[in-house]
Amino acid sequence: MTHKRITVLLVEDNPVYSRLIEKLLGRSDNPVFETVLAGTLGQALERLAVGGIDVVLLDLMLPDSTALDTFYRVRAHDLRIPVIVQSAMDDVGLASKAVEGGAEDYLLKDGINSATLIRSIHYAMERTHARGAEWSSAMLHLAQQQFLKAAHIAGLDPNIRQRLLFPERTQIAALPFKRDGIDQVETVFAYRVQHVLSMGPTKGGLRYHPEVSLGEVAALSMWMTWKCALAKLPFGGAKGGVRVDPAALSKDELERLTRRYTSEFIGMIGPDKDIPAPDMGTDAQVMAWIMDTYSEHVGYSVPSVVTGKPVVLGGSLGRHEATGRGLAYLVSETCRQIGLDLNGATAVVQGFGNVGMHAATFLAEAGAKIIGISDVSVALHNPKGLPIDLLKNHVRQHRQLFGCPYGEIIPSRDLLELHCDILAPCALQNQITAENSSRINCRIVAEGANGPTTLEADDMLQARGIIVLPDILANAGGVIVSYFEWVQGLQNLTWPLEEINMRMRDILTDALARTQRRAQAEKVDLRTAAMIEALSRVGAANHLRGLFP
């Protein structure tokens, strides 16, 4: 039997520690570790240039480099080699910064033993390898780094931490469906992932997009877990996706694809198992097809297998616009707290899809002046305020904002930098970055999109006193009303819109208040506080259920 060999570059100037680590690693015979020593950063970089290093164990305080500089210079050398930072007890803050910056883990020097050392190396390599293969996704990386940051601060049990970094259950299918008119079968990749199964059934959207990958779906399922836990909904997170461009398909093709998807994943979904909902590229009609296919399969109608259905099939009032409405509720509550009058305040909304359009609508309804808005085709600016209803009419006719005469066209990248009170990125991930965050010019950022702000930008916004309402809170309105739809379906009840909106508002303001209390108590930003709030709930549930067998 051949044993796996792992070459560890140990960057450490303290000879006592180098010897300790070398000896601890030497105890393992599978894998077999070969330790290469470097006492300075210069030596380490030289050795890395030669190649063949599987993992770096890095002390941050070296004769020729100190603190985070050390980490960033190693990182800059090669992004693919996992780095584990070694830290003394009193330097944990520094080490967790390195983890935020992309280190895979940190190890406390005090009380190190061969089991924790080898386990940490093993997991760091596993994670890097998985990301490099089918899990490769910047979004998953961001979701995992956000989670690791909160997990370190919250002191989450390391056993649970590793479990939560990837989805618990994943299914990939190569999905064939017939194209129209021609004798052609197209095969696309499809995914369904369930991140956490211990909180109840899982819940999450189904996305049709040409760039969907397993990593992206996994990241989104993770955010769903935190969103549900933060709102105290009895769900774990899930997500599904099909790597296809829905705009290139006819309605019949879309239906065949959707029914095939449902049939392929029928063992995973169900009203008590996993409940899909609309997401990018899917809508109420797609949900209706899923419901019909599932119901045909079991022999009776099961409306609660999906949410975001058409109202006539058991969909909930208010579901379609729920995410945008929830965002507006949270902005309104935050304005009240900081003494900013929303009536007359200025707002910029990036994105004019379901979330952006409704966020703009409800912010405008509350009296805010929408001075900037964009979609994939154009960015518009009007200091006097844009007429949202007229924009909606234009999009209904032309599908895009382009050509609409109500504002001046500006470069898309300038939109986020407009001077305003409220900035709502409701389009894509990675929009507010270290590069542009110093030019963000607002009081409140309300994240309608998932992951629009990078971790570095988060720190910079916080330092400038800009309030960031994080995605898992700011766009949770959708899943909250999905929950109401599921509950109404199971009870065969329908609630009036007023009741739905009131209940959603209560849940969101309660989640905001808990997040703010957590942020104050832990002295962290709202995103980290929301994550801690959410993962404490998931951690507690996991502990109570225990581990089978």
Binding site: P15, T66, D110, I112
Partner: protein
């Protein structure tokens, strides 16, 4: 139990392996003079960053042997380096030297007659 170090705790830091701990003591006894020299050079050169780093490194070794007083003395110098404050640095140095000498003597005694080179050679053979 010695007040200079806590052997039981130190053993935990070496994964419960006494032979390894003794080997590490040998490494420390050999490396310590140079580490101390580096601290002294940083003080003489009024090089705050270097003082912080070298004292930090010594502190790490002291923690490994659960030598809390030596660790505290090193930490004091590390802080002086971090704050670029050399006012009480000579006091700090004297204290560190005192504690480290005590620790070295204690470790040498633990080596139980084996001198440090022998200890290392045993492991290297």
């Amino acid at each position: 139990m010695s007040t200079l170090l806590d052997w039981t705790k130190a053993l935990q830091n070496a994964d419960g392996d006494e032979e390894l701990l003794i080997e590490l003591a040998g490494v420390f006894i050999d490396a310590c003079p140079e580490m101390m020299q580096q601290v002294r050079a940083a003080i003489d050169g009024r090089n705050a960053q270097e003082l912080q780093r070298t004292a930090h490194s010594l502190k790490g070794s002291a923690h490994l042997f659960a030598a809390s007083e030596a660790g505290a003395a090193a930490f004091r110098l590390e802080e002086m380096g971090a704050e670029n404050n050399f006012r009480d640095v000579e006091d700090g140095w004297n204290l560190l030297r005192f504690e480290i000498e005590g620790l070295l003597a204690e470790l040498a005694a633990r080596l139980g007659g084996r001198n440090s080179d022998e200890a290392r050679n045993t492991q290297d053979s």
